[in-house]
Symmetry: C2
């Protein structure tokens, strides 16, 4: 990823952990750079909300929508955009076990901080949501699903081999969640599963498919 | 692949090798089924030629076109379609070493039969071209390039990690061939690299990237 990011023109500053990364980002911000927060920023969430508007444009009859949750910025924006005009869309937020800070926070009724991210879905691994994102999820998201890494890997392999598209676990988990709901689906349902993120290398794929007792998806 | 093919509704008959597969296909044809030959059929080649027409529609200024060659049906159709209206497009046919029956046949001036396909690009592994395809390639293809499996794997990984699209070696070899020509490219060139085929499993990827001393693509 670093090579690719540099290839697109970025200068990368590496830190030891996520805490020091945020500290470094604060420091750079004070030095005059703009901080693009990964989730706790109304402007970023609003921008991500346009994904929801595009879905409504392409599929006005959408009835169910699966969106993954890291810190919750994407789903906050999408929920606001979609529910404003389509309040009856059943919106499902998805996390993986071990990167499920939002589900834990909603269950506890307050912001929970994860000591450690144990899921392979690293890009869902925000250690903490924010008041803004927790509030949006509580008000606008109909259902939260936490899936296991095994289900997520099986979904990722299925997507890669059948649609020839590489998505990362943080995206594939949405298909895994939808598969859990198959029995609930109605003939009139129009289902959208948002696939956001393809940060996975061939080495990652090899590691994940070897280290897990891979569950084949049932047909 | 078998699961996927069955999933799309096919009944699969397996044979021991490609020779007995063709014999079985002949038998089924005599029993009343239609044979869709993988390359030696003018109707199939004409259908594949529509890929060329679509390229001309999308990019009328195309100057270079890379197409892989198995038995040569795809490139025969595309060459006919493209050269009819755009004779100056530089058309490059691509094979991998060990699956290069067309390059060997053109060099020898007659149809060569390969005793064995040693390249990982199995879907390029026609043991023999046909009079029809050899004739089209000799008349209409400007250049034949044979790349190595290592270059092909590096190109395949590059395509997967950067564009998130899974293509098989039989397709990725076209990018590998284009990379060999980078020094020849002109500023006005509009280059199309046909990516036809995504028959690769995650297990294949792991095997290929482990077994080869992977050549990273130069930037």
């Amino acid at each position: 990823y670093l090579d690719a990011t540099r290839g697109y023109g970025a200068e990368i500053v590496l830190t030891d952990d996520i805490q020091s990364a945020f500290e470094k980002a604060d420091e750079l911000q004070r030095a005059g750079l703009a901080l693009v927060h990964p989730f706790d920023d109304m402007a970023v969430a609003a921008g991500q909300g346009t994904v929801g508007l595009e879905i409504l444009q392409d599929l006005p009859g959408v009835t169910r929508l699966y969106v993954s949750i890291g810190g919750g910025g994407l789903i906050a924006g999408m929920a606001t955009a979609v529910k404003a005009s389509h309040p009856h869309v059943h919106l499902v937020g998805v996390e993986t076990r071990g990167a499920d800070v939002m589900a834990q926070s909603v269950a506890a009724g307050r912001l929970i901080k994860l000591a450690e991210i144990t899921s392979i879905a690293r890009t869902l691994g925000a250690p903490m949501a924010s008041p803004m994102t927790l509030d949006h999820v509580r008000r606008l998201v109909d259902d939260l699903v936490v899936v296991d890494d095994d289900e997520t890997i099986a979904a990722m392999v299925h997507i890669l081999e059948r649609t020839k598209t590489l998505v990362e676990p943080a995206a594939a988990c949405c298909l895994a969640a939808a598969r859990r709901h198959v029995a609930e689906f109605q003939p009139h349902d129009q289902i959208v599963i948002l696939m956001c993120g393809g940060n996975a290398s061939v080495a990652d794929l090899a590691k994940w498919t070897n280290s897990k007792s891979r569950n084949e998806l049932p047909e």
